[in-house]
Point group: C2
Chain length 226, copies 2
DNA sequence: CCGGATCCGAATCGATACTG
DNA sequence: CAGTATCGATTCGGATCCGG
């Protein structure tokens, strides 16, 4: 028996042995957004040592959670296996759970595009979803957030730069929402959209303020059900 | 920023910081069965170093996941806070996920009463549940498993010892099911109850063999939905 | 630039012993 | 019962280096 084994024979222990090592679940989180190259993962996890990333990817492959796939042309990507993709509801639920413990960001904490994408997915309420097409900016991350018929699509945008004329296929979002860490108060339902605007937690850089009502109704992580 | 921080600001990262350290989720797993004393936890996690158990309990308390409560009389117990209890569906889902990767037990692997209790909870299908009252023995763990009106109750029994006359309140179970690691094949639905009996994965030490049909219908972790 | 491998000090973990 | 203390074994983190 490996010295570092937990020495137990059950499903929870097996799960922890597969994805419980440091950084492993954050790698899975990013891969849930889509296949990623080694370098992409490294950028999405700025503080991960490269030897750890390398080791984890190997372990996740041995565990059947991740596989390598050749990238069309050159290079390769890591992607979740079907077994790994089965973690999606679990990671989303964990994200909701952890969200409720979010305080102020620590100094140096970052928000990455993939993390914000997953955060939106955790907060997404298909039953309540309004049709939506907004650009969401948090820090230097910009995402195009589209909801159509209860289906959420999130695309990464180039970091906010002075518009040069190049526009996305499909044109621009109907509104631009700019937020900081205070966005969590809106998602958490502890402030109304109007309050969030008044307190400067969120700003509408373009478009109608009322878009925020639809946004806040569509994305919410309610406090624990008593 | 702490040197060991992941340096990200989102729900998944926060969750991992709260319960992602080694052993933490196994502690939570056992506490989901019920409040436990320090010594109980140590027994339920035979390979955990006591300093780690001590450290984790402190961290889980700081994170608002666990709290200490005085035990009536003397001593104290650790129990989940409401926030910690909110992990239940997540731990159950993780248990189901990990279950599908279970192979043969490693040498020295053990099955503890709390782990087996949680395993049953992960496999429990309320919709399909038949009324049931059986004693389940795996290794030297013995559990009284009762299902009534779609509600599962699991109680720990003293390790299988020659009946001395002392009986549980409520009397004896209507059947005794004895199993080994091969039980996973029955729970996984890859063998029928009849096959499980024929191959010796499971034995009925007392009672009618047909109780196993009800058992296998009530407790199952199906393969991944394609 | 991509995809790592290597090296090394710092921190954590694991095992055992010990204590109020 | 409920932990601390100690100390060697591992792992992690940070930086650098290397082959395509």
């Amino acid at each position: 028996m490996a010295a570092r084994s937990y020495g137990q024979y059950d499903g929870v222990t097996t799960a922890v042995e597969l994805i419980g090592e440091r950084w492993a679940l954050l790698i899975v989180r990013d891969l849930l957004v889509g296949p990623r190259r080694y370098t992409d993962l490294k950028q999405g996890l700025p503080r991960i040592p490269t030897n750890i990333l390398s080791t984890r990817l190997k372990e996740l492959q041995e565990g059947g959670v991740v596989r390598r796939a050749p990238l069309h042309g050159s290079g390769l990507v890591y992607e979740l296996t079907p077994y790994g993709r089965a973690l999606e509801p679990i990671v989303l639920a964990l994200g909701r759970w952890g969200f409720r413990a979010l305080g102020e960001p620590g100094e140096g904490d970052v928000v990455t595009p993939d993390a914000l994408t997953m955060e939106l997915r955790t907060a997404f309420r298909p039953q309540r979803a309004a049709d939506l097409d907004v650009e969401l900016r948090v820090g230097d991350v910009a995402l195009r957030v589209i909801v159509r018929a209860g289906v959420l699509t999130v695309a990464r945008l180039a970091p906010p730069a002075p518009p040069v004329g190049g526009s996305l296929p499909g044109g621009e979002a109907s509104a631009v929402v700019v937020a900081g860490p205070g966005l969590r108060h809106l998602l958490g339902g502890v402030v109304t959209p109007a309050e969030a605007l008044a307190r400067g937690l969120v700003a509408i850089a373009r478009g109608d303020d009322r878009i925020l009502d639809a946004f806040a109704e569509t994305f919410r992580i309610d406090p624990l059900p008593a």
